[in-house]
């Protein structure tokens, strides 16, 4: 499916808006959209929303052989998936150019900037190291995928805990959570991406939406960490133009300030969730439910539903009316049914059964005043006997 074409109306209008320093959603030029982070019950799983753009990240790990030129370092693999869920023009299956671009930018920002302590992921040098895999699934595309993805990756990495291992010479033992607590990753610094789009008239905006991305003429993504250091940089002209002047120096200061604040927020969110897990005995606490607002018109929150079910009965197919009478008739029904089913058996069993059932009806009458569960108990015993 092709993308809905951009109309001249939209192009003109967005350009005019930016010229007048207003934006369609009422933000200022260098104002980002609100960020929300929700963690899942597994370690290293989080859902991030940046305005309407939404992404889910999950960190997973397994044990591999290290690369020969780095025998004592673990590995990181970052995979970005742009499924048709995000926008209808994305294709499932093979990786698109856009997905590769985002993956590469994230690799530059997180892997090449050496923010994860890879040496601590080594178990046996040259033999076994932890290999981290980060999957990012974009579920709604409303512009600025890279920022949203980078926030998700950082939050997931900070949240992730790997199993502890002990190496006893030849063997290595991976401890489950019940034996030894899982260990968090060591991060040297905390980078995030901050994106900008420049328009024909020279104005630059932060955190573009989908429509702004389509109209803009040049994009700039800065990977910044909380120490105001630059970790990655990506600049690209989207259309041929010479109007873009030195954007980097104009916005880098603002980007650094924002990155510092954003990293602080992410840290707080992660710390809050991790601490609440440590306190509780079972660590299975999913916070995705919190993303569903209770008071919205399109949402529905329900509680545990307790149901009283009609008991299934083989005889129900034969006759409904009889069953409803009382328990006694059920037994008789059951007996009839079983008599048919196991007709090859000895007659003696059938006789015994009929005796049982008469006995049962007696006992039933006797214990009519008793509470229900007991009655049930007796009946079950009888049925077991007849078997």
């Amino acid at each position: 499916m092709r993308e809905v074409p951009l109309t001249n109306c939209e192009r003109n209008f967005v350009n005019k808006c930016i010229e007048e320093e207003t934006r369609l959603d009422g933000r200022r030029l260098l104002q980002p959209r609100p960020v929300k982070i929700y963690f899942g019950s597994k370690w290293g799983c989080c859902m991030v929303s940046l305005g309407h753009t939404k992404a889910i990240a999950q960190v997973s790990c397994d044990i591999r052989q290290p690369k020969t030129f780095r025998p004592n370092e673990g590995t990181i693999y970052i995979n970005v998936e742009l499924a048709p869920l995000a926008a209808q023009h994305f294709e499932s299956g093979r990786q698109s150019e856009a997905a590769i671009l985002i993956s590469r930018q994230l690799e530059k920002c997180f892997k090449d900037s050496k923010c994860v302590d890879l040496e601590s992921l080594c178990i046996v040098a040259d033999k076994k190291v932890w290999s981290l895999r980060i999957d990012i699934n974009i579920i709604n595309h409303d512009g600025n995928l890279i920022d949203c993805a980078s926030i998700a990756v950082l939050a997931a990495l900070m949240h992730f805990h790997r199993p502890d291992v002990t190496s006893t010479g030849e063997e290595i033992i991976i401890h489950p959570a019940s034996e030894k607590d899982f260990l968090p990753l060591t991060l040297f610094h905390y980078p995030v991406c901050v994106s900008f789009i420049t328009f024909e008239n020279g104005n630059t905006i932060m955190d573009p939406t989908y429509i702004e991305e389509r109209v803009g003429v040049a994009e700039l993504t800065l990977g910044m960490n909380s120490y105001r250091e630059l970790c990655s940089l990506h600049f690209d002209y989207l259309t041929k133009t010479m109007t873009v002047e030195d954007v980097i120096s104009a916005v880098s200061n603002h980007a650094a300030n924002y990155a510092t604040k954003l990293v602080q927020d992410i840290k707080e969110a992660v710390a809050k969730d991790v601490q609440s897990r440590y306190k509780k005995d079972d660590s299975d606490t999913s916070r995705f439910k919190e993303s569903i607002q209770t008071n919205k018109i399109t949402t529905m929150i329900s509680d545990h539903i307790s149901i009283k079910l009609q008991k299934w009965d083989e005889t129900m197919i034969e006759d409904h009316a009889e069953i409803e009478n009382n328990n006694k008739s059920c037994i008789i029904k059951h007996e009839e049914g079983s008599a048919e089913l196991i007709s090859v058996f000895d007659d003696s069993i059938n006789k015994e059964e009929s005796f049982n059932s008469t006995y049962d009806s007696d006992s039933d009458n006797q214990c009519l005043e008793l509470s229900n569960p007991e009655k049930k108990h007796i009946i079950i015993d009888l049925v077991d006997d007849s078997d």
Binding site: K289, I292, T298, S302, H304, I307, K311
Partner: protein, 220 residues
């Protein structure tokens, strides 16, 4: 064997959902059964590639994306189940030469993933306004190893001592089975008993669909 009391209790995990969650999909939902969470989005009816075009009916494409790694065989299986059950529910002859995409994203799996995925896609279909013959509701249940008891809507910890696990989907008119998936060993009577129980439970999911529709229908 058969117990003679007429009523038993069962507890369903809480169902939560938000519909119309994604701005870029024609119909979307985030559906939770307990902690099991699926995000579903529908796109279409839209243009179809010529190799997938059916001249007399709507073709349905289902994409299921797991949380980690590329799609595996099990994920393809879920796609097939959803495609088959949705195809029976949608009035496919109304939109020939077009297709719809049902896109699902696993967010969290704590048991009953297939049931949750089917319910999420049905809710997304309801939200998309596509013409359907009926709605479908899926219910999962399991048989406990030691006691032989049937537990409805089990979660991951309960599933650890399961002898067999079932997922059934029912239509909303006659409560006929649309889809049936089982894992493990079980006897015929256990199977029939579980079908019957799930059939009764499915009514609560249909009620849930109606409640959520009721909530927004009067203002939208």
């Amino acid at each position: 064997m058969v117990e003679e009391d007429t009523e038993i209790d069962c507890v369903l995990r809480p169902m939560n959902c938000e519909i119309n969650l994604l701005s870029r999909s024609d119909g979307s939902t985030m559906f939770m059964q307990g902690d099991t969470t699926i995000v579903a989005g529908i796109n279409g009816p839209m243009e179809v590639k010529s190799q997938k075009m059916a001249y007399d009916k709507l073709s349905i494409e289902v994409t299921y994306t797991p949380l980690t790694g590329p799609a595996k065989v099990d994920d393809r299986l879920i796609e097939t189940y959803i495609r088959e059950s949705c195809e029976s529910a949608i009035l496919v002859s109304l939109h020939p030469n077009t297709m719809i995409c049902i896109n699902l994203q696993e967010v969290q799996d704590s048991g009953g993933l297939l049931a949750c995925a089917i319910n999420a896609s049905c809710l997304a279909l309801i939200n998309s306004g596509l013409s359907m013959k009926f709605t479908i509701a899926a219910v999962s249940c399991m048989i406990e190893k030691e006691t032989g008891k049937i537990i409805m809507d089990p979660d991951n910890t309960q599933l650890k001592n399961a002898k067999a696990e079932f997922t059934y989907a029912f239509d909303s008119i006659n409560k006929d089975i649309v889809c049936c998936h089982s894992v493990g060993r079980f006897s015929q009577s256990e199977f029939l008993a579980s079908v019957d129980k799930c059939k009764q439970v499915s009514q609560f999911i249909f009620d849930f669909y109606r409640e959520i529709t009721k909530k927004y229908a009067n203002t939208v």
